[in-house]
Amino acid sequence: MTQLESDNACILNVIKKKIKQRTLALKELDNQHVSSSEQFDKLRLTKELEPLQIAWDGYTSTKQTLLETVNLLSDPDPIMRSLAASEQSTLLSKLTSDLTNFTQLLIPKSKTYLHSALMELKAGVGGDEASLFVSDLLRLYGRFGEARGWQVLVIAKEDNEGGRGVKNAVLEIKGQGSYDALQWESGVHRVQRVPETEKGGRVHTSTAAVVVLPMVEEPLNNSPASEQLYNPKDVKIEVMRARGAGGQVGNVGLTGLEPSVMKLFEAQSAVRLTHIPTGITVSMQDERSQHRNRDKAFQILSARLLHKKLEEEMLERRSVRRALIRKADRSEKVRTYNWAQGRVTDHRINLTVNNLSDVMEGDGLGHFIHALANHHSTQVLESLLAGMSTVA
């Protein structure tokens, strides 16, 4: 039991502090009319911490019983001793589950748990190899999403001209929780393998950049979410590319037309949005319909703005609390896929899975996502603790 408690010392410390806060607040609220806003804050605090208090009370009473059974372990009666032993193991597992429960109670509920994910994949250094790697990743995430019952859509894709693979792509993974699961994928992913075209058998290193954004549903329907993200007046909508005289004349200018170069008019109208306050621009031309190009562009813009907003909120919290959370920088190398050694390593948590094909073709990515989420929770807890000690 002492082992258990010392392993979870960090969590227990936070809880003890919170419980102390609550007791203090309760005492101060006693025998007083609740009137001032300060008192309302206290009231809110006690209410917020109530579930924690209940869990804590349960935990301490289990602990108490456990201590009592310890004495019985050395009882002269063998029956008593074996009873105590079995009781002890049940109590210990209860204590363990109480502790995990604490973690969940402490970590603030994710603000993005409802959001779907929008993933942008871009080939980095390494030419054709990088493009091939992007198409590998595209498949990997597609399968990962489908296995979880999410809807996977390739919103835009630009194939590697002349070569093979995909230069860049935008993937929409629709479903509750998909953003929370996939957000850890942001960053630079590296591949080390011998390209098929390489005669000398030399291992090449190439990269692909992944950006994961929280998606805002119903981009155009004045949903309150997107309304807060931007003022429609701040978004400049442009239809890209010159269009000659336009209208019935079509896309080709009237003058300077060389009959030998038969330039056909474009069958789609690409759309570019610029969010003036932030300078963020989004262009979309993958659909023939300008209406759909516009919708998609607005959806991506909303996702980028929400991402930015969340990042700013986090920075704010960080500066207040000296948080230790380190979110993946977009340029940071997060993971290496090494074909030669058949392994995948995540550099942020130093986790290596020695089964590359399980990651690429099976459900191996799940291990990483799970480990990264756990790692994040621990960091949040640590930051909570750090924040508390500055307050205390």
Partner: protein, 298 residues
């Protein structure tokens, strides 16, 4: 596969070729069909005719030579017009939908009234529309589009297509039976507006495939009076005269006309007088593209 791409890339450039091949592929049911489609495209046939449709707002409008392919600019101003109508007519508390009568002159595929109706219905505004066109190919296609839109958007869509010539002396009496007892609330038109000079210089993709009758703004008109020929303005003049002569117009009837890139001032000056709130609307490329105005009943 990649030989299709290289064929297309030669005329379209790589990026465009890739996109178009994707759309052709989505539409073709087998490789043989795809190769025929690519061949048609490399011979300069508009992609829309090969695919058989053109997106127009949320609709997929059926297209077929020689009926004019709906343009993105037309789609844009139709949206703007719908906003204007909603702003003016959206029922406040009344749960009963308002019904507006729409007349679309030179309707072609019927795209304008079809989109208007689709955009207005969700706002409690129903439409009874009439589309008029001189071409039998256009009238037939418009009929097919009504059926196709009805099957995708099961809404109370009421559009009738009449084959009529705008320059007929008894134009109004020829549609009175269909219209009465109602009177017109909205009149739209994307009439032919290209001058003969400009038409000769058009890109082959337009000139060789789309009906000159749909494009040429100065048709040879019998007993025509005082027409500034050569600027593609004949239809606007005719539409103005028709409206001034019409007895079936509601108070504050909205008129919306698509115009060519340099025609705004000529067209607005034609309509000054009986028409007010004259507004020049710019398209997404910054060009004067439509004239909206309101008509006084006389």
């Amino acid at each position: 596969m990649s030989h299709f791409l290289s064929k297309l890339a030669r005329i379209l450039g790589p990026r465009q070729a890739e996109l178009e091949l994707k759309w052709l592929r989505q539409c073709a049911s087998n490789e043989l069909q795809l190769s025929q489609m690519v061949k048609r495209r490399t011979r300069g046939e508009p992609l829309q005719y090969i695919l058989g449709t053109q997106p127009f707002g949320p609709l997929d409008i059926l297209v077929r030579p020689p009926v004019l392919i709906p343009r993105p600019e037309t789609e844009q101003w139709t949206y703007a017009l719908a906003d204007k109508i909603i702003h003016r007519y959206k029922p406040l508390k009344d749960p009963h939908p308002t019904t507006l009568t729409v007349l679309d002159l030179c309707t072609g595929t019927g795209c304008i009234p079809l989109l208007l109706c689709t955009l207005l219905t969700p706002h409690g505004i129903q439409t009874e529309a009439i589309g008029v066109d001189i071409s039998s190919a256009a009238c037939l296609l418009a009929q097919e589009n009504i059926i196709s839109v009805k099957s995708h958007f099961p809404s109370p869509l009421s559009i009738r297509i009449l084959q009529r010539n705008l320059f007929e002396p008894n134009f109004w009496s020829s549609i009175r039976d269909t219209l009465s007892p109602r009177s017109l609330d909205i009149i739209t038109a994307n009439p032919p507006y290209i001058s003969e000079d400009s038409w000769r210089k058009l890109s082959p993709e337009v000139k060789d495939w789309e009906d000159p009758v749909a494009l040429l703004g100065d048709p040879a008109v019998e007993n025509s009076v005082d027409i500034r020929r050569g600027q593609g303005l004949t239809f606007y003049q005719r539409i103005r005269d028709l409206l001034l002569d019409c007895t079936m117009i509601s108070p504050c009837c909205i008129l919306a006309l698509e115009i060519g890139e340099d025609q705004a001032s000529a067209v607005t000056s034609l309509f000054r007088g009986q028409f007010h709130d004259i507004q020049i609307w710019k398209d997404g490329w910054g060009k004067d593209r439509a004239v909206f105005c309101t008509m006084e009943r006389n």
